[in-house]
Symmetry: C2
Subunit: 423 residues, 2 copies
């Protein structure tokens, strides 16, 4: 354990280095950034053995510590996963440069031209848990968007992350980028996170990537703006006008394609108008596919295998093969339910009636709303935005997928020929 004075000095030094690197990265041309990303990919490939050896250390410690099977799987690297990391960097290199885009341009009556130009945010702090690949993904997305990164990985993945960082830094500096373009907090001391969250002079935005307790801690302590993703309590509403076959296809995919992702549907709402025809087949399909169904009284009546839902079920992110199913009185009640119990992430309606669909799309106060498509599309890649650093459930700056464009801010560039303000 470091003293708090030492920790403050260490973190301030990290912050100052990052700020300095950020000023250089902001002015680095696209080609230089892309070359550095490809060099980092190669460095990761070359370092595969070192990375796997470091990961073996983390895995051993994790097993000794009694980490769950799911956590160990997230922690584990193998040659295929290392190669996927390298390929991920090359994919990011191929994205268009988000920096320097003109977002709007206009000319004032006095002849001044004004342009809103995308520029990097500056320094981005990433606080994450066991997945070591976040080290490469997050640093690469930040670099592509001209930002410096300060990474704070989980203690479980410390050695793996350090090995990945070494490869990244090697690739970046070989191409002339500053060594401090990406840095990692060099201690697993939990107090370092607290210090990091108060470094508002040096860090422009914090991205917490991890479970609910990590995010809650960051939200409570941070003095720095966040890209926050608390949870994904996503809904699919089957309207009375829905085609049953389409509803079945969408609901099955939305719930069961992958149950552990944030865009998985956690609650199915069925319009009372079609409950008689649609509810039983939907419920039976889910149960037959291996999903536990927790339902209201109507859902329970529709299938004997349905378990009674408790109040808490309507606000639970299961991330598992479990779904809550309820019957509502039309689209208005569905919207009301979603705005009350949801997490403002992603909601879908299945309906043939376009007016009902509009009511749903306008009424749900969520980052993503879909009509006749699966909630599992809630993903930057599926949106065509390239890789993402996460899905934001906040409303400020970025909402929904946070890709390289969302890692930028903008400035106003005004050009005149001597104009002064009258009056």
């Amino acid at each position: 354990m470091m003293t708090s004075t030492d920790l403050d000095a260490l973190m301030t030094d990290l912050g100052q280095r990052a700020r300095k690197a950020a000023r250089i990265l902001a002015l680095t041309p696209s080609a230089a950034k892309d070359k550095a990303l490809r060099a980092a990919a190669q460095a990761i490939r070359i370092d595969t053995k070192l990375i796997l050896a470091a990961n073996a250390k983390d895995m051993e410690a994790g097993e000794a510590k009694g980490l769950s099977k799911a956590m160990l799987d997230r922690l584990m690297l193998n040659p295929a996963r290392v190669e996927a990391m390298a390929k991920g960097l090359e994919d990011i290199a191929r994205l268009p440069d988000p920096v320097g885009r003109s977002l709007a341009e206009w000319t004032r009556p006095n002849g001044m031209s004004i342009a809103r130009i995308a520029v990097p945010l500056g320094v981005i702090g990433i606080i994450y848990e066991s997945r070591p690949n976040v080290t490469a993904d997050a640093a690469a997305l930040c670099l592509k968007s001209g930002n410096a990164t300060i990474l704070r990985g989980g203690s479980e993945s410390f050695h793996s992350s350090q090995a990945i960082l070494t490869a990244l830094k090697g690739g970046f500096t070989a191409c002339g980028l500053p060594a401090d373009a990406v840095q990692m907090v060099p201690t697993t001391d939990r107090a370092a996170v607290g210090v990091m969250l108060r470094l508002s002079n040096y860090i422009d935005v914090i991205v917490p990537r991890g479970g609910k307790s990590l995010v809650e801690r960051v939200v409570a302590e941070s003095r720095i703006p966040l890209f926050q993703h608390l949870e994904g309590i996503c809904h699919t509403y089957v309207d009375g006008s829905a085609d049953l076959e389409m509803a079945k296809t969408i609901v099955l995919n939305a719930k069961m394609r992958r149950t552990g992702i944030c865009g998985a549907t956690e609650t199915l709402l069925v319009d009372r108008a079609c409950a008689g025809t649609h509810l039983a087949p939907l419920v039976a399909m889910l149960i037959d596919a291996g999903c536990e169904v927790r339902g209201d009284a109507v859902a329970q009546a529709a299938d004997a295998r349905v378990i009674p839902a408790s109040d808490a079920d309507w606000s639970t992110e299961y991330l598992d093969a479990i779904i809550s199913v309820g019957v509502v009185d039309g689209v208005g009640a569905a919207v009301e339910h979603i705005n009350t119990h949801g997490s403002h992430h992603t909601e879908a309606i299945v309906a043939e009636d376009s007016q009902v669909a509009e009511t749903f799309l306008n009424g749900c106060d969520s980052a993503i709303v879909l009509w006749n498509a699966s909630t599992q599309f809630a993903d930057g890649g599926e949106f065509g935005m390239g890789a993402e650093i996460g899905i934001s459930t906040g409303k400020m700056h970025a909402r929904g997928p946070v890709g390289v464009e969302q890692l930028c801010t903008f400035k106003y560039v005004v050009k005149g020929n001597g104009q002064v303000r009258p009056g």
Copy 2:
């Protein structure tokens, strides 16, 4: 003083009412919002006498309390200022509706269409000090952008703000808008601000409008994202390539047109390359215009009336007829000085050399950068954005002028015909 339990209950009630109103406002058509704004303008005109009587009470208390002349002037209303408030509401009614704009649209290979649509932020909390007109301006900008507002005015302007609020509410409800579209914290208890800053379930963004100590308190305590404007330490840099006459015109306007606004230049930097020809005339002009000049050694040598600048002068927002003047070694040193000592608000360069200008515009990490124009243009109205709720010096969401478009967030609206995610 209320007990903290009472205060929590009171503020939670306010928040819940605001959230409910926000859901209605988000779906209210443009014409209905604009009609309500015009009705509120008329109500303010009709209530002029009541508003002035309430203001007289505040002025009397303010004088008894020994408020400064400047504060009393900010607090004071007269018939012309009341009429300006009413006209301000009508101006806002005439702005285009920012809600529902399509910010981007594309189609995926699987046929799904995706649109990024502007929607209101939700509930906006405004914490302000003595200017009672903020009550009308802020509430109107929020309403225009479909948001509900919770106002927390200064205790000095309490009666004036209440009278203005009554008129606004009268206008809004007469047009069928919810009474809770705009609410005011009904107590001057300072603890209410602390409670408000933790109401993250009900308030989406906080706008502090006031002096540095108010903003610092809000930054330190808020659990809610902010549109933050700490200070405007703005610079004008006169490059070696600058035309002296243009430099004089711009510098005089940038410093002296109005010294109390955040876009006023506080530091003049002169390129050493032209110090011999440009520095003395610029300094003499400022002093002759009644400005106190605090300079470095070179500036002191240029004019005997220059006072030595202390270290603190380079990071001071004077908001007065005072300027710090220093000589720097070219555009690189100017950018370095500005990024180190400035507040990331607004900076101008006077130069004929376009490459030097590009270096400056790209290098300054500020919300607004100008080439051959006065820093006093840093204003939403001057940018053609209509009225503004403030100038943000933060980088997240809104940077620079915060107008009705910046009071919106967006959602992704996805339309399909049964698409599910493969794999």
